[in-house]
Amino acid sequence: MTATPGGGPPDTGARVAAVPIAGRVAGRAWWRAATARRLAFGYTLLAPAVLYVGLLVGAPFLFSLYLAVSDANVGDPVASFVGLENFRAAWESPTFHIAWQNSLIFTVVAFVLKGLLGTTLAFLLLQSFRGKKLVRGLVVIPFTLPIAISVLGWKWMYDSQFSLINWALRGVGLIGAYGTEGWPVWLGQPHLALFAVISVNVWRSFPFSAIVLLAGYTSIPPEVLDSAKVDGATFLQRFRHVVVPMILPILLVGLLFDTVFTLSDLSVVYLLTNGGPDNATQILPTLAYQIGIQAGALGRGAAISLFLFPLLLPAMILLLRNLRRREW
């Protein structure tokens, strides 16, 4: 006889009923349970993405961490642990500080310019005009052209002797004659050179900003904008209080991509100036490439490129947290 927890008469019926259920559950494999099957299905669907991120993002990242704390070079497969020596070596170099500073300037200035130009372009493309489809197609050309080709085109436009920009400016009398001090040397004067490389990055990427904005804008129900108009909201008020809050998740994802791409952009600087003159356009990716690949010091190159990580991480965390909060 079994006493009930309440001290009443024994409940034999309950015990009899419980035994078969427990027996059924125990006799069945756990993986056949509906919950387990659902979980397995979910994980199967997730697996390719996890594998992709693990192999193509996680593994290289871990490998670069390993390289950064080793004395690895391109010709020696056996590397020894050197702790934070490579980071210290980078930090001690004046060139590294210039590259770090230029990377920040490059990213921030390019971000602001792309935001302004992208927004303007997006709103221009929203207007109705003749040939709108053609224009929409044309504006994405900078973004779709192979970077080597477009940057070489810019190299010619910035050429010290045959610059199309200079000949045009000279034509309207804004600059001095070739060979005089009034003739700008776009890639030769430190500030102009930095401006020139940022401009090419902006030229390449602002259509992307415009497309992101355009995609977001067209997803806003027209009645929301109409009602704001009826309520007397001006263009700027509608943009700030209606459009931006509604498309913010899209904007944040676009911003995330753009920041990563800009900060790690090697091609524009490498092809236009290679970091010169006198490191005036040196940025962390080009310095990492010169030291890690061209000079063969993989460990120090990896350490320099990892300095991008603390720059990117807080920005990414802030953006992703903001995005998640909005999803809830």
Partner: protein
Amino acid sequence: MSAHVETTTNNELTRRGFLKTTGAGAVSASLATMLSARQAPAQIRGTSLRIIQWSHFVPAYDVWFDKMAREWGEKNGVRVRVDHIPHLELPARYAAEFAAGAGHDLIYYVGTILTGLYYKNLADVTDISDQMAKKYGGWIPEAKSHSLIEGRWYAIPDFYILAPMLWRKDLFDSEKLPRPDTWEQARVAARTLKKKGHPTGIAFSHCNDSNLFLRSVLFSHGAREADPSGENILIDSKEMREGLKFLKAMFDEGMTPEVFSWDDASDNRYLASGVACWIHDAISAYRTTEDTNPPVFQHTHLWLEPQGLPNLRVSIANANAYAIWKFSKNQAAAKEFLLHLADKWLEGMTGSRGYNMPFLNDFYKKPMPVIGTDPKLQILQEFPKIVAFFGYPGPFTTPIQEVVATFVFPDMCTRVARGQSPDEALRWAMGEYRRIYAKHKRA
């Protein structure tokens, strides 16, 4: 009668004698052919050889090279594949191939000579280097700079790209200026002709020309980079300071700020456009001018590296070399191919329109192909006496490679040209050199 006997005798010998005679003849002929036109060993038949090459500045050379490689492959039963890629992409490619432990059998260095970095993973090619030296009168002394490590050859020097003075005789003559045989004469000419709208220029930027030619100017003034052991930095010297002062004066008087933005082709265009009074460049500039501006080409003459100090000419050149990966499964074919290339080297020089300069002494026998027959170019035959490479007078070591890759030397000169004192610029450069050397010593 005797004739008949002879004939008979001959007839009697026909069966055996004919076979013997013709057999012996055929063997002798084959041996002679093998000796004269080198026959590769049978073991490489049926194999394949992958070669990575740059895209030569003279496209005709690539055409010649590919044809030569194909013919060699057909003759020896080797499938040869030649990949041409831009030279600036080669170092990244080698890093990837090394990491993967697979790729091309025969690799090619252009300017960026990475023998010091990779030598533990490169095949020892001392055997074929010795064969080539024996056959062609030995290597010029500077050939060792980037190929010899710890007494063994790990690369086979192919050619170097010399950089003479290319000067406009018509402009010099108009001002009664002597040809630029010294840097002082070059400076005076630039100062005089800049006023007439014909300045000069040497790249002060992050490009290979800048690394090469600014060194040539300063080393010809007695400055040096590292000692013969390659261990000690020598840039901090009185000669370097004097050289930097000279460079600053030459920039102020004879150049424009354009030079801070130049790439490796800018000076070619400067000459071809008719603006420059002289440039210091490879003969690609001469060829470009020939193709694009014949009137200017007619007045363009070439001369040796100018003297800085009396009788001191140091011409820092861009060296190119071959190496074989240790992981290559076909090292035998790669070595045979390099021996064949040495045999065909003079043809290659013709293919390059005189651009490729040899590392083997016998190829300097006058008249050399192309340059020996062109009166304007004949002076180039004197370059082996003055040619040197990065690290001069020391070898091209891995720390020097990093100094070159990070453009420390051109940046030092740029700082001086922009107004920093030679002392300050040199102090900065010494800091960079020391840091780089220290890192390599620790590693």
